[in-house]
């Protein structure tokens, strides 16, 4: 009701350019992807049936989830102490830590991924430092995980840092004054207060990772195909546009379902900063 009235007073017109833009570049393509998945090569649910009939494709979906789960886990395990360190560091070091997270974030994904290829291959820098036989770090899950974790770290560190920065550290001191060991104080006081940031990081990283293409394509092996790669392969490799569309719709639905579940557990609006 109020939203409608606001639209009517003229200011609402300001939203029209963006709305028109989204309509053309987002809603229309999405609708046509959905339509194509149901009509190409022939009308019906054939593309979806093909997906669910073939263990190969289900494996790819499963692999996508496993990889995303692994990447999320590693990212959070690395990001949590990093974000914590940022909250306790002096301003100068906090700036250094922040820059270390953000500079890669502003660097081209493609450049970074190729850099990993140079670093991780059998004759690369990392293996040069490890004595003995080269450790396989490329074209496998290790390569994918390293590459994607590096890409996703800012998405984990920033929301966790934002939440942790708001935690009153005097509460930990109070807990210790009441008899809590530092470990007890951490789990009973700090961790619950940091949880919204961790949940936001988890969701952001997991959902983003599901749709990754460049990193797994360059760093992963034939056994580590993720659904993004499969879509590209179907689209430009074997020209099954209808099937590729169906894959995209499946990915979108699964992601949507996850967000729906997550919204039951945590306040999503709070996470992206628009909640009160």
């Amino acid at each position: 009701m109020t939203a409608l009235r606001r639209l009517g007073d003229g200011w609402g017109m300001l939203v029209l350019p963006l709305a028109a833009f989204l309509l053309v570049v987002f809603v229309y393509p999405l609708a046509s992807v959905l339509a194509r998945s149901l009509t190409d090569p022939e009308p019906g649910l054939g593309n979806y049936a093909a997906f669910f009939d073939s263990p190969v494709y289900l494996d790819v979906l499963g692999n996508t989830f496993v990889t995303a789960g692994l990447v999320t886990l590693v990212t959070l395990l690395l990001g949590f102490p990093y974000a914590y360190l940022m909250t306790v560091a002096r301003p100068f070091w906090r700036g250094v830590l922040m820059a270390a997270v953000l500079v890669p974030f502003w660097t081209s994904l493609l450049v970074r991924t190729f850099a990993w290829v140079l670093l991780l291959r059998d004759t690369g820098v990392v293996n040069a430092l490890i004595p003995g036989e080269p450790v396989p770090l490329l074209r496998n899950l290790a390569g994918i995980t390293i590459g994607m974790v590096q890409v996703m770290l800012p998405f984990a560190v920033l929301p966790m840092y934002a939440t942790m920065r708001g935690i009153d550290r005097r509460l930990l001191r109070a807990a210790e004054g009441l008899g809590a060991t530092p470990v007890f104080a951490f789990w009973r006081v700090y961790a619950p207060l940091a949880l919204p940031g961790v949940a936001a990081a988890l969701l952001l990283v997991f959902v983003s990772t599901l749709g990754f293409y460049v990193t797994p394509a360059l760093l992963g092996g034939p056994k580590d195909v993720m659904i993004g790669e499969l879509i590209v392969q179907q689209l430009s490799g074997v020209l099954r546009w209808g099937f590729a569309s169906a894959l995209a719709v499946i990915l979108l639905l699964v992601t949507g379902a996850l967000l729906l579940v997550a919204s039951r557990l945590v306040d999503l609006r709070k996470m992206i900063g628009s909640g009160s």
Partner: protein, 323 residues
């Protein structure tokens, strides 16, 4: 009775400053001791040394004759209340108060009974389900009090617990903390910069200045027989008169203002202010020194600014202060 605190020659040195300088203080078991001082006097540092949050550079702290210097705060079994309440925002009132007990593995009916008792003591029995954010400042500090006493510590440490509250609430909680002290019978160490608060609440007061204790005694001792000019000026209003190389203290309520032909110190009235129940008269002596008198004179005798008067007092109302 247990809960005697002994601070022995505690020094705390920070880079470039000396927060505590060889401070020694004995707090008897069951006593209400107030550490009084302005900001930077070292009173909070001293409390934090006792609590274990601050490691002294040298010296030791004993509770009931056991040396606890170097023992981490969570093993000291002392209750602590902070100015900023420090309630856990993600827990309701019940869980906040239960926190020290859960740590000590108290569970079930025993836990509920003890939390309930502690909340009864601070008169918040009905608010267990509330979140701290739903409470007023005074209620929050009561929860913090309940949380600090629920595990029956030998000593309760309070760091300016009423500093964030408005005057009326502060006075109300002062009385409640006094009552709590009587009911629990444990040792209270209370930090404040408010001399009035220190005088009304304490069994004894230790006045700190620049990292040293300048005087320890009952409120009456500090007020009536201050050990130095600093103590006299810190506690209440005071008129300090130079007299043969010494100092004479006359409190405003003992200073009388009379007609200019009588005996006493000649002065000119500068301000006459009505303060509920009496007058506050400020007079100026020829040298420029101002004296303050508090009286309840009748309106017809009311002096006016500019009047020549004399200030006088009975000899037994004046005190010599070591200069």
């Amino acid at each position: 009775m247990t809960g005697a605190v002994d601070v022995r020659a505690v020094t705390k040195r920070y880079p470039g400053s000396l927060a505590l300088d060889e401070v020694s203080l004995h707090v008897a078991a069951g006593e209400f001791m107030t550490l009084l001082g302005s900001s930077g006097s070292g009173k909070s540092t001293l409390l934090n040394v006792v609590a274990g949050f601050t490691e002294p550079t040298s010296g030791s702290v004993l509770v009931d004759d056991a040396d606890i210097t170097g023992v981490p705060p969570h093993r000291r079994e002392l209750g602590m209340v902070f100015q900023h309440y420090a309630l856990f925002p993600h827990m309701n009132v019940f869980e906040n108060v239960a926190f020290p007990l859960r740590r000590r593995k108290v569970r079930g009916a025993e836990l509920r009974r003890r939390v309930g008792d502690a909340l009864e003591v601070v008169e918040l029995g009905a608010l267990g389900e509330r979140r701290p954010a739903q409470l007023s400042g005074g209620q929050q500090q009561r929860v913090a009090l309940a949380r600090a006493i629920v595990f029956q510590p030998r000593v309760l440490l309070m760091d300016e617990p009423l500093g964030a509250l408005d005057k009326r609430l502060r006075e109300q909680l002062q009385l409640e903390i006094k009552r709590l002290h009587r009911e629990l019978g444990i040792t209270f160490v209370f930090v404040t910069h408010d001399q009035e608060e220190a005088l009304t609440m304490s069994d004894r007061v230790a006045l700190l200045r620049e990292g040293r204790i300048v005087q320890v005694g009952t409120p009456q001792e500090l007020y009536e027989t201050p050990a130095s000019r600093y103590v006299a000026e810190f506690l209440g209003e005071s008129n300090l008169l130079d007299e043969d190389g010494g100092l004479l203290l006359v409190r405003p309520q003992h200073l009388r203002i009379g007609p200019p032909d009588g005996p006493g110190l000649r002065a000119v009235v500068r301000e006459v202010i009505y303060v509920g129940g009496g007058l506050r008269i400020e007079v100026e002596r020829p040298g420029g020194q101002r004296l303050v008198a508090r009286t309840t004179v009748r309106p017809e005798e009311l002096p006016r600014p500019g009047d020549e008067v004399v200030a006088h007092w009975s000899e037994h109302d004046s005190v010599n202060v070591p200069a």
